[in-house]
């Protein structure tokens, strides 16, 4: 199977999915119990708005048009990069997102580094020393990590490192010292999931016949494990990294609240409570698009990781 038709197919389905995502995102507005305009206005004004005020609000935000037309207008703006204006500050939503994004990206990147640095060595050691104390300890650690609510872990870390030992700041953003605790909180949770995956993937690979071939060549154990086995074991790990980006965004929301970091997550939670719909829609759409694009990239990178994968090919 050639790569080109596969790419076209893959991009095609991604477009379909993105179109669906935009419909869902826009449709969220209509989940509001009652009349959206009235609900929003009463929250903004902190009193029951008059009929005239509601009419004016509708006209201002194009809510008096038929729904498909509203959606079309919104989508046209979105495609131009205009996600609308915040109900409260007249700031552009795109601008708000771009301002908050670096803090979230910084957190995500640091967490991934923490997660990989913990998960790969632990998972490999655990698998190679299967059934030993090392294995049991790391499995138990990973299980606890998977089961721990990350906001609780955040508070525990704050309690120990900030409040008791006083070596790191409690909350806030901007300096590297303020990044340490959030990145550890989010990164260890992800590491727990990845460790389990690396371990089981490694165990599968360690049973493969080609490792016998490698051993029978007279290769050192270290090369057998870290060259022949790990390379194959990492394929499913990278696959799951794409999915884990979703988990990372989910986690970032909560972690940003815990550590009071004004990133995307905090922006979203504030907007949800204020019913600031343009901001809510903007961030929802943005994260979904980022998620879809990342997974597309992960899919495309398969070929380089696992030469067996014929992109889009059917196993004959």
């Amino acid at each position: 199977m050639d790569t080109a038709p596969y790419l076209v197919h893959r991009f095609g389905t991604s477009l379909v999915v993105l179109a669906g995502v935009s419909v869902v995102t826009y449709g969220l507005l209509f989940l509001t119990p009652g009349d959206p305009a009235e609900v929003i206005l009463s929250q903004q004004l902190d009193r029951q708005p008059s009929e005239a005020e509601i009419e004016a609000f509708r006209a201002e935000h194009g809510m008096d048009e038929p729904v498909p037309l509203q959606y079309a207008d919104w989508l046209t703006d979105v495609l131009r990069g205009d996600l609308g204006t915040s109900y409260y500050s007249d700031a552009s939503v795109t601008g708000l997102i771009l301002d908050a994004l670096p803090l979230t990206l910084e957190l995500a990147a640091a967490s991934v580094v923490v997660a990989l640095a913990l998960a790969i060595p632990t998972g490999v050691l655990s698998a190679v020393h299967r059934g030993t104390a090392i294995d049991r300890a790391s499995q138990l650690g990973a299980l606890v990590g998977v089961s721990m609510p990350n906001f609780w872990l955040g508070y525990l870390l704050i309690l120990v490192f900030a409040l008791t030992l006083g070596v790191l700041p409690v909350a806030g953003a901007g300096s590297y010292s303020q990044l340490v605790l959030p990145a550890i909180t989010l990164g260890t949770g992800m590491a727990a999931v990845l460790t389990r995956l690396v371990r089981s993937s490694m165990l599968d690979v360690l049973d493969e016949g080609y490792l016998d071939t490698a051993r029978s060549k007279g290769l050192r154990k270290r090369i057998v494990v870290y060259k022949h086995a790990l390379r194959n074991a990492l394929v499913p790990v990278v696959t799951i990294l794409g999915v884990q980006l979703g988990a990372l965004l989910n986690g970032a929301v909560v972690i940003e609240i815990v550590f009071q970091r004004p990133g995307l997550g905090m922006l979203l939670v504030d907007a949800v409570f204020e019913r600031n719909y343009p901001v809510v829609q903007g961030i929802t759409l943005f994260t979904a698009v980022a998620f879809v694009v990342t997974n597309l990239l992960v899919d495309l990178s398969y070929r380089y990781l696992d030469p067996r994968v014929e992109l889009g090919g059917d196993p004959a």
Partner: protein
């Protein structure tokens, strides 16, 4: 009559022997972690069922004179900032957390399995359309979408439940469809088709039993993630509203008293962790037994 009885007796005998002779039970019990998982889940279930009967105090009655008391004989887990007994709140919370988890997982399972079966069995454009729907659902990071839905619907436990149910069915659909497609091509299903066995009978006797294993595993692991999700949304403030004794809300209450009253945040934290740990261990154990091909994958929503 006697024939019917006989056949029932033989069926029971068969099941019993299958259970006894099969390696299933032995495999499950061989790993102490599996047994630990089963024990934790059983214990939490019992706590959820009889908790309110044995709880020493009312979970919402305030006793400001005894606020922020540390663990003692009267209050084994201490009291919170309003003097409410933490143990009683924890026991009531177990019922809440478990109930929501069961409800959400149930909705996801039924919805997802139905869609997956339909897509896998019907194929063609129905499959294509349903799978795009699945793709769209999976395109949103689960908790982010649940947060937005719950927020727009308005903060309440019921809305959190709805939101979590709506964002989780797709993985079941994908799993079921994949298993159905794989099973459909296996020789015993092909053989059944050649023997004039009806489509309905093929679906119920050959496909469903083979799909059930992975789905049960996914659902068990899902119980843990739903509990985490509920707690997370409540922690943010979208779920249970005061004075409901929900574990996530309780933990959020404790954040202002981290230094002075560590138990307020940590007691529900440990409770959540143990419950999730129990379901994870049980799910792992069931996977070894029911889903040796590891078709279910583990994800973490919060």
């Amino acid at each position: 009559m006697s024939v019917a009885l006989e056949s029932i007796a033989s069926a029971v005998g068969r099941r019993y022997r299958a259970l006894r002779t099969s390696r299933t039970l032995a495999t499950f019990c061989a790993n102490p972690l599996n047994v630990a998982g089963l024990s934790i889940v059983t214990a939490i279930t019992i706590a959820a069922v009889i908790g309110p009967l044995v709880a020493p105090y009312d979970p919402t009655t305030q006793d400001l004179a005894n606020r922020l008391q540390g663990p003692s004989l009267a209050h084994p887990f201490g009291t919170d900032q309003l003097g409410r007994d933490m143990l009683s709140r924890l026991l009531y919370g177990a019922r809440l957390s478990l109930g929501i988890a069961v409800a959400v997982t149930g909705i996801r399972l039924v919805l997802g399995t139905a869609i997956g079966l339909l897509a896998g069995y019907a194929g063609g454009w129905i499959d294509e359309a349903l799978m795009r729907l699945v793709d769209i659902q999976l395109a949103f990071p689960g908790l982010v979408l649940a947060l937005v839905i719950a927020g727009i619907l308005g903060p309440s436990l019921r809305n959190v439940m709805l939101a979590l149910a709506v964002v989780g069915w797709a993985s079941y659909a994908r799993l079921v469809r994949g298993t159905v497609l794989a099973t459909k091509e296996r020789d015993f299903v092909r053989a059944a088709r050649l023997m004039n066995v009806s489509r309905f009978r093929i679906a119920t006797r050959h496909l469903l039993p083979n799909v059930a294993g992975p789905v049960v595993v996914l659902a068990t692991l899902n119980m843990g993630t739903v509990i985490l999700g509920t707690a997370g949304l409540s922690f943010i403030g979208l779920g249970a509203q005061p004075p409901t004794p929900e574990w996530g809300t309780m933990l959020a209450d404790g954040r202002h008293h981290l230094r002075t009253a560590w138990w307020i945040a940590n007691v529900p934290g440990v409770a959540i962790m143990c419950t999730v740990l129990g379901f994870t261990l049980l799910g792992d154990g069931l996977r070894d037994v029911l889903d040796p091909n590891h078709e279910t994958t583990l994800e973490k929503p919060t």
